[in-house]
């Protein structure tokens, strides 16, 4: 049961990451490969502030969200001039820059050694002790993210995002300051990713830069694409699949000598087959 609870916690964290990135990639059509950077900002905010400065989890999370929003605002201004593949490359670059900061500003982040001993959150003076209690917290945040995402995509703001995705120049003709819309959604997505980072840091209780590298951004993007672009439910589905599938494969009886390698092959093959069958993702509205 504990193991399933653990997987459920990880699934809810990645569901938050998926839903938030989908707002940018799926709805606004911005191929962002820097989501792990904001995930890391949230994680490090909690790691640094709770361990070294005695902040509570919720205060540290709020500060992390503000930092992520500020970073997103800046990145949005610089990358706003680019489109399509060039936008992706610029976002790549930002992830690498943020990763380098985590790795090199060792006086603050402890560099490659990472930050251990991150405490669990306290609610009304009582610390969360068990994984089951943490699961409740992470599900609450995931549900909040779901509600926020659905509210955005069903609103006129969401309509404008879809317009940007389809034909930004045509949308400007109607008076939309599309650059501002893109910046706003990027900031919202960054703040939600920071929440996921806060949860991850406090759940695992140890973070290091390697968790927030470009690979992680690609992983999050992959789960969004698999789940389906421009579909909030799809991101939840994608997160659950990406977390559960490798774990399910642990139970498949491959020959022990090659079990690890066969699981990797099987995992890759299943993903490829899923994308061949549904290139727009399981619940997707459109293809990238």
């Amino acid at each position: 049961m504990e193991y399933l609870i653990h997987l459920a916690v990880m699934s809810s964290i990645y569901a938050i990451l998926g839903m938030s990135l989908n707002l940018v990639v799926g709805y606004a059509g911005l191929l962002s490969v820097t989501h792990a950077a904001f995930y890391g900002v949230g994680a490090y905010a909690v790691g640094i502030l709770t361990v070294s400065r005695g902040y509570g989890f919720f205060e540290a999370t709020a500060i992390g969200m503000v930092c992520a929003a500020a970073a997103a605002w800046f990145i949005g201004i610089v990358s706003g001039k680019f489109k399509g593949d060039y936008y992706a490359l610029v976002s790549f670059g930002f992830n690498i820059i943020v990763f380098s900061i985590f790795l090199n500003v060792q006086s603050v982040t402890r560099g490659p050694l990472g930050i251990p001993g991150i405490p669990k959150p306290e609610l009304f003076g009582t610390a969360i002790r068990t994984n089951a209690q943490f699961l409740i917290l992470s599900i609450v945040f995931a549900l909040l993210t779901y509600a926020i995402s659905q509210w955005i995509v069903k609103s006129s703001f969401g309509r404008a995002l879809k317009g940007i995705r389809e034909d930004e120049d045509a949308l400007r003709v109607f008076g939309y300051d599309t650059a501002r819309y893109k910046r706003i959604i990027f900031m919202i997505a960054a703040m939600l990713a920071a929440v996921a980072g806060s949860l991850f840091a406090s759940y695992i209780s140890y973070i290091d830069p390697s968790t927030f590298s470009l690979n992680e951004s690609i992983f999050i993007l992959s789960l969004v694409i698999l789940g389906g672009l421009a579909n909030v439910n799809g991101s939840v589905f994608g997160a659950i699949v990406f977390i559960l599938l490798p774990e399910i494969l642990r139970f498949v009886g491959f020959p022990p000598d090659i079990a690890a390698q066969m699981r990797q092959v099987a995992y890759g093959a299943i993903l490829v087959l899923l994308m061949l069958y549904r290139p727009q993702g399981m619940f997707g509205e459109y293809k990238l």
Partner: protein, 246 residues
């Protein structure tokens, strides 16, 4: 049908000696165009003459090197998301409706600058009356509409701001003759019903000259001829410009 510009002082929209450069290419080379209230004006000319560039210069999506764009005789620098607030609506070439959004959502986008929800609903109802085919498909994703219906939607979307000037870039492009006729009839109806000035770029000379008040003929980025349709047709200037004779 208005046949001439009534009074220089009442000119609604003017381009005065405008030069548009795309790098080394002079898309407009000192073009001057004037549009009066309530007129339908055509911009014609061979490919590369600068017709669409005139519209883009008005809307601020072409790099104006020199010259002036005037609105009610006052100079202004067009910025795309601000121009529409002045009452100038642009229907770009190729329809460019948002395929994954419904007809209604496309129209709502068109009415973005209309702050009041009631006013927006009123305009939508009015636009639906002008285009009954759209009313029947208001909840349909616009990507599933026919070419003609999409063109109507694109025009309807432009009308949502109740513009004083509607800029249409090749509205008949890719449409069957029967549909083209319908589209031009809609354009005429809009002008008569709402008093909207319309500037239309068109290749379909015969059809468009049947509904416009005046026309400009552009060649190599300059206005080569202008006047009433019957004057242009009888003078033979169109053949000269289109067929390249001096």
């Amino acid at each position: 049908m208005k046949s001439e510009i009534r009074n220089e002082k009442e000119i609604l929209l003017k381009l005065d000696d405008v030069h548009v450069h795309y790098g080394g290419v002079h898309a407009l080379d000192g073009a001057s165009v004037a549009i009066d209230e309530g007129e339908i004006v055509a911009l014609m000319g061979p490919n590369g003459a600068g017709k669409s560039t005139v519209l883009k210069a008005i809307f601020g999506i072409a790099p104006v090197h020199s010259g002036e764009v005037l609105w009610h005789e006052k100079r202004f620098k067009p910025v795309p998301h601000e121009v529409v607030a002045r009452g100038i609506a642009f229907v770009p070439q190729g329809r460019r409706v948002f395929k994954y959004l419904t007809v209604e959502e496309n129209l709502e986008i068109g009415g973005f600058i209309v702050g009041d929800k009631k006013e927006l609903a009123r305009r939508m109802a009015e636009v639906m009356e002008t285009f009954p085919a759209l009313k029947a498909k208001r909840r349909t994703k616009s990507g599933t509409l026919s070419g003609g219906q999409q063109q109507m939607l694109a025009i309807a979307r432009g009308l949502m701001v109740d513009p004083k000037v509607l800029l249409l870039d090749e509205p008949s492009l890719g449409l069957a003759p029967k549909i083209v006729k319908e589209v031009f009839e809609n354009i005429k109806e809009i002008n008569e019903r709402h008093g909207t000035a319309i500037v239309v770029v068109e290749h379909n000379i015969k059809s468009i000259l049947g509904i416009v008040d005046r026309a400009y003929v552009l060649a190599k980025g300059k206005v080569a001829a202008q006047g009433k349709p019957e004057e242009l047709l009888s003078s033979g200037v169109l053949e000269k410009i289109f067929l390249g004779e001096k």
